[in-house]
């Protein structure tokens, strides 16, 4: 058994002014595993994810990436962020760069990779999201599902130790969510370490190794997918799921 988890979160807390969004959250993400986070809007899922790579500064608690504590100076944080690929609800592609440009930007500027190497890597990453033919397009000419897959390729190009997905299909039309979920399932079965904040219950149930149900900034229920979805112990989780699965 691998002793050091890819990501370890210990008693993480976050307040915005008087509002306590996270009230002490702890969990491990073992290497190669997929953890899905579910819960109502406002339960703190996205904030938790953004605290892991320090897009938000936690009020208290620790995050460890491969055993190393996240934090310290901005340069240390930037260095550790390289190892955490992030995919956003709004895609956040850089519109002034082509698809290839988006994918090679960070490997060249942050990892110091040579352009030629970065291009080869980008080809590979775009192939993994089934968009090899779109390299020269600008994001404005892509569909939402294609943009999100480019965003996934961009994160993969940093060859991260783990991927963080922040509601990756929530701003997509229903007919476009499948193409993104398919890519994510493939990543999961390739052994990519992933934390997925999602409202896609079917995905959470099939593709994850563990499921966390967040409520009011705390982990209300946690377990194997079949256990959380099949026999939730908490009343709130049961209510949430019955609404979601109607």
């Amino acid at each position: 058994m691998d002793a050091v988890p890819a990501i370890r979160v210990v008693d993480l807390r976050k307040s915005f002014g008087a509002l306590e969004v996270l009230r002490g959250v702890s969990f491990d993400v073992p290497r190669g595993s997929v953890v899905s986070m579910i819960g109502a809007s406002g339960s703190g899922k996205s904030t938790l994810l953004r605290c892991i790579n320090r897009l938000e500064t936690p009020s208290a608690g620790e995050v460890y990436i491969d055993g190393e504590p996240m934090g310290g100076r901005l340069s240390d944080i930037s260095r550790m962020r390289r190892d955490l690929g992030m995919v956003f609800q709004q895609f956040n592609l850089w519109p002034h760069m082509t698809v290839i440009g988006n994918v090679i930007e960070a490997p060249i500027r942050v990892r110091g990779m040579r352009r030629k190497e970065a291009l080869a890597l980008a080809e590979e990453c775009l192939a993994r999201v089934h968009l090899s033919e779109k390299g020269k397009e600008y994001p404005a000419r892509l569909s939402g599902g294609q943009m999100q897959r480019v965003a996934i390729a961009r994160a993969l190009a940093m060859q991260p130790k783990a991927m963080l997905f922040d509601e990756p299909t929530s701003s997509l039309d229903p007919e476009l969510t499948d193409e993104v979920l398919t890519v994510m399932r493939e990543l999961a079965s390739d052994g990519t370490t992933m934390i997925v904040v999602t409202h896609e219950m079917a995905f959470a149930r099939e593709a994850s190794d563990r499921v966390l149900f967040l409520h009011n900034g705390q982990i209300e229920e946690e377990g194997l997918p079949d256990q959380v979805f099949g026999a939730p112990r908490s009343e709130r989780c049961r209510q949430f799921l019955s609404k979601k699965l109607q």
Binding site: S78, F88, Q90, W94, P95, A106, R109, V110, A140
Partner: protein
């Protein structure tokens, strides 16, 4: 038509002095390019101060914008040429003098830096936070983000407004003859003193300015539209 009007529209005199006048127009262009460079650099610096997290920096940026945007360029040119050297001379204890060209560039550059600062600031603030989040999440540092993610988008967004400001700046270069920068207007007044026929000269100088500005601004607009379309399709 009256004789005076016919004379005012007659291009012969303007054509006769075309080489001198063209040299003057070239000076307008020199002043324009140098002042534009100053305005862009100082304007960007002021804009970065205005969006800085630390409040004192924001105050300095705001002060800069308010002072220079509200200073008439005519008065700034005179002040920079005649008063600023005295002030600087007092400070460093040495006689300071600016050439007319340098004074004109400093004055117009600073006045227009106030406008460009606001254009830059609006552009910077229009970049969605998510673009920056994505860059930070990849481990990019703040300088890389500014140079690679923010500025290229700001330049594209501000181009239409920037073209308008460039036009204003070019028109403003016509008052630099005030401190004897040998621009087109200066040469026109020189020729006038010899020939005593100002009206045709001013008519054709006005037409020359119009044609130059119209053609250059028009092609700049077309170029920038073409460049922007790829992104904002």
């Amino acid at each position: 038509m009256s004789d005076a009007l016919i004379d005012a529209l007659n291009p012969a005199l303007f054509w006769e002095y075309r080489l001198v006048l063209l040299r003057g127009l070239a000076f307008n262009a020199y002043v324009f390019f140098a002042a534009a460079a100053v305005a862009l650099l100082i304007g960007l610096a002021a804009a970065l101060l205005r969006v800085n997290r630390a409040r004192p920096f924001r105050w300095v940026g705001t002060l800069h914008v308010e002072v220079f945007r509200n200073a008439p360029d005519y008065i700034m040119i005179v002040w920079v040429h005649f008063v600023l050297p005295l002030l600087l001379g007092k400070l460093i204890g040495q006689r300071v003098e600016f050439s007319p060209f340098v004074s004109a560039v400093i004055a117009l550059g600073f006045v227009y830096s106030g406008y460009f600062a606001e254009t830059f600031r609006a552009g910077i603030q229009s970049i969605p936070q998510g673009h920056l989040d994505a860059a930070r999440a990849c481990g990019m540092g703040e300088t890389t983000i500014l140079v690679r993610i923010i500025l290229p988008q700001v330049v594209r967004r501000m181009l239409p407004e920037a073209v308008n400001q460039f036009v204003s700046l070019f028109k403003a270069t016509t008052i630099v003859s005030l401190i004897a920068v040998p621009d087109l207007m200066y040469q026109v007044s020189m020729v006038t003193q010899q020939e005593m026929r100002p009206l045709p000269l001013y008519t054709w100088a006005a037409l020359t300015y119009f044609v130059v500005i119209y053609l250059v601004a028009g092609s700049l607009r077309r170029l920038s539209e073409h460049w922007r379309q790829k992104i904002y399709a």
